[in-house]
């Protein structure tokens, strides 16, 4: 890299003037690499701190002077064989989450400390009740418990109290309202009872409840944080760099995130365009499949609008980074997105549904208990104590763990199945899906081009052409270059821009490139006739000639994934922005009957709305910018990690890798998780059916309350662990790859004629 890398936009400053930044690190796997990186950075003058966070795969560096250039870190570590990528400072959200996690952990620590000490005292009291504890000792122990619990609960209960207050202010109910009420009443009653020298106090129940719930909440948050930080690392790893043309005509390499509207960037042939912008100079062809789903490259010249993620084919372009404007495709898509998001009725989560039913029922029950006891002629004190006991025993320990515990385990299972969950309630929505809609380009097909017809050509010719292709930047040649066994480019190779590559091999000239460059126009025309969707690239060495077809290939397991979805009774459809012949051929190859081609974004939304009106819950799987509104509008949505930024932001989850199997895994794991959630809720109901009558009859002692609460929590948690069983099934290849190579004469799809 001859040009300087400018990282200034990633550097952040602390109050004392010290500068720091974070990098995402690739390829660290053991203690040796940590040592190697940190030792190398220690030698850099000016750097005051360099520390790797191995769990997060991040590198944190600090320096004091203003003269240090962080680009040296990238260069030095690249020399050692480690690639580091500047981490975009969207970390504010992450900082908040980390602070939240620390706070929850602190609350948990305080609550657990208090609970352990209280148990020590409570067990003594319980044991004393069957032997010879004196009332004085019991009172002493109760007061001591109160002394420990009251401050501990005031501190550790904050997450619930705050959330409950927020909910009440918004005039709604969530699970935290009955929890807070239960804890507060239990504590108040216990203090009053202790003052009256009574036999029972419920300090232990209150604090135990907090411990269980805080543990569940912390785990839930930790899982989400892990997924998010992993996704953030991936996006840093894939973050494009741009070649910026400075005011003085010099060029500098900068991360695309650092570009500002009005900057000018240079895009060479074979590079992906890093930003949305307007072409100001140059002429080329652009593969816009990530934007429109269309695979035929379109011409670009001065004045054309181009989008981030599209691939530049043949010529160098100078692009002015787009300032906010109106009337472009991007604006239209953003407008559609806003519409789709506001129309999407907010999904009511299972836990919230349960809370809405639960809280009124429980509170009515407590009041009824008090009234019944009063009618039966008992004192007001006894009536209130029994009513509070009802609230304590029904405090939704199991209920509040029932859903989050399953979500934690299922999110972990999805993570292992290569699905990164974005939204917390996505699991429930995936489970409800009864139809799956795919985009074609980049979703059913691989995002990269691949060689299609190697079986027609002699292996020696393929190898020779592939080695020639190593010297070219053209995307078609790069698809061919992937077939080269020997990875060394030929010394004598020279690239002729826009035409091809030539080299002398064993005294014979070999050429690779446009058909006219190799005098193979007639043959190429034949191939084009037979396979109108493929791009062709010609090769000649002496008398040896070949015409290669380059096209986007189906993902290796696309056919079996679709078959397995259909076998589960889920109808599959393809909605593509590409031309009809390409989509039709693809649909036929995959056995999909329902397909539509040349769909504009608003047509996709309309199609989805029609299915929704029929009562279908559609899952949309897509990657293009044109799919983003449909992804936002669908009941549930999934994007490959290679998708455009807009699509990734709109999707509920992302999947990694070349395979499509995570789509099946996501639905399967979500369904299993959903049934476990329902089982858990059912268990909570059954538990209450037994516990509430006991409490109403006034038979609940603190010992019974403690046993019932911890027992039900443990049952629910153990049941939730079963959600990870599904993941183990998917860890083994669940969906076998399609037999390769494709049978000759199988329908051809996709691709373009240059």
């Amino acid at each position: 890299m001859a040009e300087a890398l400018d990282l200034s936009s990633f550097v952040r400053r602390r109050d004392d003037g010290a500068a720091w930044m974070d990098f995402a690190v690739e390829g660290i796997s053991d203690a040796a690499s940590i040592r190697a990186i940190e030792a190398a950075l220690c030698k850099l003058a000016g750097l005051t701190k360099a520390r790797i966070n191995f769990s997060a795969r991040r590198l944190h560096v600090e320096w004091s002077s203003g003269t240090f250039d962080p680009a040296r870190i990238v260069a030095d570590l690249a020399a050692l064989g480690y690639r580091v990528h500047p981490f975009a400072p969207r970390a504010r959200e992450e900082d908040l989450e980390a602070a939240q996690a620390r706070w929850l952990l602190r609350c948990l620590a305080v609550a657990a400390f208090a609970a352990m000490n209280i148990m020590l005292l409570s067990v003594s009291i319980w044991a004393g009740e069957v032997s010879d504890i004196t009332p004085e000792t019991r009172d002493f122990f109760h007061w001591l418990s109160g002394l420990i619990v009251l401050p501990a609960a005031a501190f550790a209960g904050q997450p619930f109290f705050r959330s409950a207050i927020r909910a009440i202010k918004a005039r709604s109910l969530n699970m935290d309202v009955p929890i807070s009420l239960g804890v507060l009443l239990a504590l108040t009653m216990s203090v009053v009872e202790t003052a009256r020298h009574a036999e029972h106090a419920y300090f232990d129940s209150a604090i135990m409840l907090l411990v269980f719930l805080l543990a569940g909440r912390y785990l839930d948050q930790a899982m989400r944080r892990k997924t998010r930080s992993y996704a953030a690392n991936l996006s840093a790893l894939r973050a494009p760099v741009a070649t910026r043309i400075e005011a003085d005509g010099e060029i500098a390499t900068v991360p695309a995130a650092a570009l500002r509207a009005g900057d000018t960037v240079l895009v060479r042939p074979g590079e992906r365009i890093p930003v949305d912008g307007i072409v100001i100079d140059g002429r080329s062809e652009i593969d816009q499949s990530l934007v429109t789903g269309e695979t035929a490259p379109c011409a670009a010249a001065a004045g054309c609008e181009v989008y981030a993620g599209t691939l530049n084919f043949s010529g160098a372009l100078r692009i002015r980074v787009r300032a906010a404007g109106g009337g472009t495709l991007l604006d239209e898509i953003e407008k559609l997105m806003d519409g789709a998001l506001t129309q999407k009725t907010r999904y009511l989560r299972l836990a919230d549904k349960a809370a809405r039913l639960y809280a009124p029922v429980v509170h009515t029950m407590a009041i009824l208990t008090a009234i019944c006891w009063l009618l039966a002629g008992r004192s007001a004190h006894d009536a209130i104590i029994t009513a509070i006991a009802v609230l304590i025993i029904t405090c939704p320990c199991a209920l509040a763990l029932a859903v989050p515990a399953v979500q934690v385990v299922a999110a972990g299972a999805l993570f292992r199945a290569k699905v990164l969950l974005g939204a917390g309630d996505a699991i429930e929505r995936f489970a409800g899906v009864d139809m799956v809609v795919f985009d074609k380009t980049g979703t059913l097909t691989l995002p990269e081009l691949g060689l299609d017809s190697a079986d027609d050509a002699a292996p020696a010719a393929v190898e020779c052409a592939a080695r020639l292709a190593l010297s070219s930047h053209h995307p078609l040649a790069q698809a061919l270059a992937a077939r080269a066994d020997e990875r060394m480019p030929l010394d004598s190779a020279e690239e002729i821009a826009g035409v091809g590559v030539r080299a002398m091999i064993d005294g014979q000239e070999a050429r690779l490139g446009a058909p006219s460059f190799c005098d193979l126009e007639a043959e190429a025309e034949q191939v084009r006739q037979a396979h109108p969707e493929a791009s062709v690239i010609a090769f000649r060495r002496g008398a040896e000639t070949a015409v290669f077809r380059i096209r986007q290939k189906l993902r290796p397991d696309a056919r079996s994934v679709i078959a397995s979805l259909q076998a589960q009774g889920l109808p599959v459809a393809i909605l593509s922005g590409d031309a009809a012949p390409a989509v039709g051929a693809c649909a036929q190859a995959l056995g999909v009957e329902q397909w539509s081609a040349a769909m504009r974004p608003q047509e996709k939304i309309a199609w989805l709305a029609a299915r929704k009106a029929e009562g279908r819950k559609v899952m949309m799987v897509g990657d293009g910018m044109n799919d983003a509104p449909a992804l936002a509008a669908a009941h549930a949505s999934l994007s490959p990690i290679t998708a455009s930024g807009l699509a990734q932001a709109a999707a509920d989850a992302l999947f990694l890798g070349e395979r499509l199997a995570p789509v099946v895994a996501a639905i399967d794991i979500a369904r299993r998780a959903n049934s476990l959630m329902r089982q858990n809720l059912l268990f909570a109901v059954v538990y209450n059916l037994f516990a509430v009558p006991l409490a109403m009859a006034g038979l609940v002692t603190p010992l019974i309350a403690a046993a019932a609460m911890s027992g039900s929590s443990i049952v629910v948690t153990l049941n939730a662990l079963r959600a990870s069983r599904a993941a183990r099934e998917f860890a083994a290849p669940h969906v076998s790859p399609d037999p390769a190579p494709e049978p000759a004469g199988s329908p051809r799809f996709n691709g373009a004629t240059p």
């Binding site: 203690a31 191995f54 769990s55 620390r102 602190r106 620590a109 305080v110 000792t137």
Partner: protein
């Protein structure tokens, strides 16, 4: 039972000590990178040479 007046404060103080140590470790950032800590177990670069 007067022994309780000695034992209970001792028990509480010991538990409180553990809690304080945990909160200190948390504030000190020792729970930020649990896997990394395992990796660094044999490195001694925090000692002056």
């Amino acid at each position: 039972m007067t022994i309780l007046l000695v034992l209970v404060p001792i028990a509480l103080a010991l538990g409180g000590l553990g809690l304080a140590a945990f909160l200190w470790a948390l504030r000190n950032g020792q729970y930020e990178d649990l896997e990394g800590a395992a990796m660094r177990i044999l490195s001694d670069d925090d000692l002056a040479p």
